[in-house]
Amino acid sequence: MITPLLVLRQAKTLPLRVNQISVRYASRKENIADPRVEIIRRTLYPSTIRNRASPVGTWRPDVGRRLQKAIPSVQAHETIERAWLLHQRHIRRARLAELERKFSCMKEAMDALQQLDPRLYREANKVEDPRARSPKELEALKSLKGTEQRALESRIRGLFPRELRTPTDTPPREGWRYNFKPIIELP
């Protein structure tokens, strides 16, 4: 929510400038060695005197006027915000309902497994420790060479593989990688 909007709404007489603190930034007038340093200094430590809008400040002298240009009206803006929140609510509810369905399927499966075979159920419930290595893997590690050792160490049970790609706005240039040859046969 934009607070100047609420300010406008509450009291027209409320001044948009409050707490006038005047602190000048430090500037060396004697020997300005490099103008770039001065620019950086001015950017990092701007003047806090409120006579002008500044890149790092949160004050503009003409906020009210600019807001009036930007939004149709307070009521219209609030309607738009409510429509957006409603839209987000629909999306959220659909997502949660889907998760709920998936979870109940999982629960049903685990209950069925418990009835069917307690040993498998116990094993399925074990939490995988990413740091642990089974004795089989340790044996395999000793017998393999460099690249294969690294390939074995890269896929850790209990952690997601780092080759999983996050979605981007456009697909990769080469598209999907169809030619894959495994380096070693992973257990």
Partner: protein, 280 residues
């Protein structure tokens, strides 16, 4: 699908011995739902685009002024280019700035009293050699042809692997990859082995967890007695590669969205499996 029977467990569960043949009742099948994650982000709806545009405009009205002296050397070509582009964007958002009357009068006076023809300023523009690389289009060729073998199709959505194989009665059905548990192995190990053996080593998959995400019991109709064997589904992701079926057990495959899977599968199977899949 291997017909190797599961070795007798340490204790036979009590709920098992409903069927006459106790050995078929002890088979457990594991199915796997192989998912290809979305490659590209979702397309925003018209409402979302309008909302983002509305807020961009408010941001443009209220944002702090751009620290031009920090980013550009004052008087440089690129600064001039940026300011020109900014003027265009500002004009697009808010229209031409309203000029005060005195300023207008002054400009008019200048124009009238200008004796000499002003030479047009040389257009200084920064040119990147070789051009700016363009991003790939969001729609792939596979979307246009509808090639269900392709993993580039439907980049926004989750697609799942569906295979055509013969079930116990010998009928060809479309379903998720399935296999029996052999020996003393655990369910997730059975899934990993099954994926490798039947779908070749050309597919890099990651089985997410040790526990199943769903169970399907065929035989809602009491007539089919041996079909009571449960199928425990596991979730897997394909990272790279492609299915290379051996042609013996697996006849055909397809990468399909949830809506495309429904018409291809039997209604009984679909009812048991639909809640395991993502809607989008």
């Amino acid at each position: 699908m291997s017909t190797h029977l599961k070795s007798t467990p340490p204790h036979v569960p009590a709920s098992q011995t409903t069927g006459q043949k106790s050995d078929t009742a002890s088979i457990i099948y594991t199915g796997v739902i192989v998912n290809r994650n979305p490659i590209i982000t979702r397309t925003p709806t018209a409402f979302e685009r309008a909302y983002y545009a509305y807020h961009s405009r408010i941001e443009r009205a209220l944002h702090n002024p751009f620290p031009s002296e920090f980013y550009f050397k004052s008087g440089s070509i690129i600064e001039g280019q940026f300011e020109k582009e900014e003027k265009v964007r500002e004009r697009e958002a808010f229209g031409r700035p309203v000029r005060r009357v005195e300023e207008w009068r002054r400009k008019l006076h200048e124009k009238n009293t200008a004796k000499t023809e002003k030479k047009p300023k040389a257009e200084a523009r920064i040119v990147i050699p070789g051009g700016v690389p363009q991003p790939m289009p969001r729609e792939h060729e596979a979307d246009r042809t509808g090639d269900v073998h392709s993993l580039d199709r439907n980049g926004e959505r989750n697609v799942y692997l569906l295979v055509k194989s013969k079930d116990e009665k010998g009928k060809e059905v479309w379903r998720f990859p399935q296999g029996a548990v052999e020996g003393d192995e655990l369910l997730h190990e059975a899934v990993i082995r099954d994926l490798r053996s039947e779908y070749g080593t050309g597919m890099d998959t990651w089985v997410v967890s040790r526990n199943p995400i769903g169970v399907y019991r065929s035989g809602s109709s009491p007539s089919s007695s041996p079909a009571k064997a449960p199928v425990f589904f596991y979730k897997a992701h394909i990272i790279q590669g492609q299915v290379r079926p051996d042609g013996k057990q697996v006849l055909d495959f397809a990468w399909l969205t949830k809506q495309e899977i429904k018409p291809r599968t039997e209604s009984d199977y679909w009812a048991g499996v639909k809640d395991l899949l993502s809607d989008f």
